[in-house]
């Protein structure tokens, strides 16, 4: 077949190249004369996963990036900047400090109206030392998507201003205090999708209850919040329709759980359903419209969760959570050990009270007899299909 692709307009060819990593799109310069300069009009700087193992490789890499920045069409904005950079801190000696160079690149793309930043710098030294986050990111008014992995957000001297930001994913980020993280969120008024994993704080100081009482991310529809190590005020995300939440009983005091009026889908992670069943019921009481529930039991290090022996025995809640009576259609329970009474009682309670339940799936790692116990338990919904998978 003839060379069809080269007859397409430049804009289309550049669009194809924009889905490739910059390394490959620059390499198309040798395809033919037609392709020689096309890469310069691609508004994306995607450096993908770049790991360097020695000084020379590092120098070749930064030489390449600077060439790209110099020769690309200067009038063109940079829509997307992605870099996952890994190196061993002792392999690159002074004066070449990668974070200085990377910070310059970030400043450059921020100036060129970048909309999407995905940045991960891995120093291979464990979590003790996290590189400093380039602060120009925090006042980039064109930014729509921000994904950060492994950074230290130092004291914010000027307010965070991210008026266009809709998606924020934070993984392994250190803030001085919880209040600094809240101030960060205040700077993202139109946020729709928030994900936090391993967000930690230098200082143990928790927020005073009143300070953030009325703060809410009103446009937020999806959130993924890790509450194990901190007391993130859940009120801030109470408008979401979909929530993934890692939580411990310890967090559930002083009005911590707010009512999630729009929540239809909940993925709840906690340690030991056996000790946390009361908290699960409490959460359900605060999700009146819940349609889909996924309960996950995770193994946590000691000290990260509280064992409350008072909760060893099941007690029927004083009233049935509204979501069970009216809305819950799907319920999944993973890592069901069923060894202790309360897990089984919780599952039975849901079956007994969820009037519109269609599907109940349980992944059972405990005794196989659990299946029979559940199958013969009273079920409120005539159309409910119960499946118990045995996962030894």
């Amino acid at each position: 077949m003839a060379d069809i692709v080269s007859t397409l307009p430049d804009a289309i060819l550049c669009h194809i190249l924009s889905f490739l990593e910059t390394k490959q799109s620059v390499a198309t310069t040798i395809l033919s004369k037609r392709w020689k300069y096309l890469w310069r009009s691609v508004p994306v700087l995607d450096l993908g996963r770049s790991a360097v193992t020695d000084q020379n490789a590092y120098i070749r890499f930064i030489h390449f990036v600077y060439s790209v920045l110099l020769f690309r069409d200067p009038a063109l904005p940079i829509q997307k900047f992605k870099l996952i950079f890994g190196y061993h801190i002792h392999q690159i000696v002074r004066p070449y400090y990668p974070m200085d160079t990377i910070t310059k690149w970030v400043d450059f793309v921020v100036q060129r109206r970048v909309e999407y930043i995905d940045l991960h710098v891995d120093l291979h030294v464990g979590t003790e030392y996290l590189p400093k986050l380039p602060i120009s990111i925090l006042t980039c008014n064109t930014l729509v998507v921000l994904k950060l992995v492994c950074f230290n957000v130092v004291e914010l001297f000027s307010p965070v201003a991210l008026p266009s930001l809709k998606t924020l994913h934070l993984d392994n980020i250190m803030f001085p205090e919880l209040r600094d993280f809240m101030l960060f969120l205040v700077g993202c008024p139109i946020l729709e999708d928030l994900s936090t994993f391993d967000v930690a704080f230098d200082s143990e100081e928790s927020l005073t209850c009143d300070e953030w009482k009325s703060f809410c991310l009103t446009n937020l529809t999806t959130a993924d919040i890790d509450c194990y190590c901190n007391h993130f005020p859940l009120k801030a995300v109470h408008n979401v329709s979909s929530l993934r939440l890692q939580i411990d009983q310890e967090n559930c005091r002083n009005d911590f759980i707010h009512t999630f009026h729009n929540l239809t889908k909940l993925d709840l992670f906690c340690s030991s359903l056996h000790y946390n069943w009361k908290m699960v019921i409490e959460v359900l009481k605060h999700c009146p419209k819940l349609q889909k529930l996924h309960l996950n039991e995770v193994e946590l290090e000691e000290g990260l969760w509280t064992r409350n022996d008072d909760n060893e025995n099941w007690v029927d809640p004083d009233f049935v959570p509204q979501c069970l009576s009216l809305h819950l259609r799907t319920c999944y329970i993973s890592s069901f050990f069923g060894l202790h009474g309360t897990e089984l009682m919780l599952a039975k309670y849901i079956l007994k009270n969820a009037k519109v339940l269609q599907t109940m799936n349980i992944w059972n790692s405990g005794q196989p007899e659990i299946k029979q116990q559940l199958s013969s338990s009273p079920v409120a919904s005539a159309t409910c299909k119960l499946t118990v998978y045995y996962v030894p």
């Binding site: 077949m1 003839a2 060379d3 069809i4 692709v5 080269s6 007859t7 397409l8 307009p9 289309i12 669009h15 194809i16 190249l17 924009s18 889905f19 490739l20 390394k23 490959q24 620059v26 390499a27 198309t28 310069t29 040798i30 395809l31 033919s32 004369k33 037609r34 392709w35 020689k36 070749r60 890499f61 030489h63 390449f64 060439s67």
Partner: protein
């Protein structure tokens, strides 16, 4: 009155004639997704058969199907069915007919097929003739050295 009018326009049928003479009867609102066709209609209101001289019947059929069905799931499965030659011809068609959603889908699909492949492979798959002189190519390879490190030999 307004309701009647919209009902009438959505059920109005139009005929599209592909380059090999194959005829397709489509609803007006489907045809309008092709901005080129829309422009044609805007210019000549009474037209009933619109010629599409650059697109084969085979590809026009696929394009029409795409417009009718498109959603995220369909997009993901759509690109898997076609070989590289067809993808390129479909992109040409989508570009001519000016259908932005389909163009986007096809650009992504083509990029996926050449991802991480060597320039030699890309030349082969697109039938690109290398009109660089050996000196020029060597110069480019040196200038952007890092871009040519560690690529798939496939």
């Amino acid at each position: 009155m307004a309701e009647e009018k919209s009902q009438a326009s959505s059920s109005k049928m139009l005929t599209l004639k592909a380059s090999d003479g194959v005829l397709f009867e489509v609803e007006l609102n489907i045809a309008k997704e092709m901005k080129t066709v829309q422009a044609y209609i805007d210019d000549c209101e009474d037209i009933e058969t619109i010629p599409i001289p650059n697109v084969l019947g085979k590809h026009l059929a696929i394009v029409i199907e795409y417009i009718k069905k498109t959603n995220e799931e369909y997009d993901a499965e759509f690109e898997k069915q076609w070989n590289m030659d067809d993808l390129q011809l479909l992109l040409l068609a989508a570009n001519y007919l000016n259908i932005s959603g389909l163009q986007e889908c096809l650009c992504k699909a083509i990029a996926k097929r050449i991802e991480n492949k060597s320039p030699e492979y890309v030349r082969k798959v697109f039938n690109i003739e290398n009109d660089h002189s050996p000196e020029e190519e060597a110069k480019l390879r040196k200038e952007y050295k890092w871009a040519f490190e560690g690529v798939d030999k496939d």
